[in-house]
């Protein structure tokens, strides 16, 4: 497969959308308290389990997980903090599933009030083509401990839940 083929096949953004039965401001605030809902037991990048996920409440803030002993592992940064409508996060985890300051893909979360106690939450993770720009990196990811085996584990965990 040529790189351009990979680009066209895989560059569409990842989109997840849900209607949540809470007011818009409540949805935004809960979303930024990621430690209350992120599936931390299975989804963390540090060696130890994460006990909190912090989104610093300002544009330019940091986005990181925290272990019980206080160790912090950066996931990325807060690009736009616009309460209560929009949050744009910079996801700095590369194809090897490591924090990489040079590598970034964007996660935009929008909160749209559809009623006084109803909010549409949309997550769009874009720049997927960046994962395909470097086939070598993807190949390395397939071999790395943190990358492929971790994904495999998640695939199988999900499969077993079905």
């Amino acid at each position: 497969m040529t790189p351009s083929k990979i680009l066209t096949t895989h560059s569409s953004p990842v989109v997840a959308e849900s209607v949540v039965n809470v007011p818009q401001a409540f949805a935004f605030e809960t979303f930024t308290k990621q430690g209350t809902w992120w599936p931390m037991a299975t989804h963390h990048i540090g060696e130890q389990p994460a006990v909190d996920v912090v989104v610093e409440p300002k544009s330019g803030g940091r986005w990181y997980e925290k272990a019980a002993d206080g160790t912090e592992c950066l996931w990325g940064d807060v690009l736009i903090y616009d309460p209560f409508a929009r949050l744009v996060l910079g996801w700095h985890l590369n194809a090897k599933w490591e924090f990489d300051p040079e590598f970034v893909t964007e996660v935009e979360v929008t909160f749209t009030a559809v009623g006084p106690e109803t909010t549409r939450v949309k997550i769009e993770h874009r720049d997927m083509e960046k994962y395909g720009a470097d086939e070598e990196a993807v190949n390395r990811a397939l071999r790395s401990e943190q990358g492929w085996p971790g994904m495999l584990k998640m695939y199988t965990e999900q499969a077993s839940r079905k």
């Binding site: 039965n21 409540f26 809960t30 809902w37 992120w38 994904m151």
Partner: protein, 114 residues
């Protein structure tokens, strides 16, 4: 309980759910191999290996090429597809978890106000 939306492409999940198939898939991480290479190392017949490889190919996880008389199989380098699928599943999982927590916390807030 966290569940994955049924619209998540299921083929990769189910293709890797079978332990033997996963073992075959992992044996390709080091490079291209033939059906005979794989069958030699595992207590599986060649037809069974072929069948597993077919499922992995259908799921887009493995590619096939012919070198002379040998049919070689390797992991699909478009692993980017796998990364995208992974992120897709991850955000669905996270969003569902967020929805449950937000609605739980909100009803708790309302109960306190009563």
């Amino acid at each position: 309980m966290l569940t994955i939306d049924s619209s998540v492409p299921a083929s990769k999940f189910s293709a890797l759910a079978d332990p033997r198939r996963r073992e075959i898939f992992e044996s390709l991480v080091g490079g291209s191999r033939s059906v005979a290479d794989i069958a030699r190392e595992m207590p599986v017949t060649r037809p069974a290996v072929s069948q597993h490889l077919k499922v992995l190919m259908d799921a887009g996880l493995v590619r096939h090429r012919v070198a002379g008389t040998r049919h070689l199989y390797r992991i699909d380098p478009a692993g980017v597809g796998a990364i995208r699928d992974y992120l897709d599943a991850l955000w669905r999982l996270a969003l569902e978890s967020f929805k449950q927590e937000a609605e739980r916390a909100y009803s708790e807030t309302k109960d306190q106000q009563k």
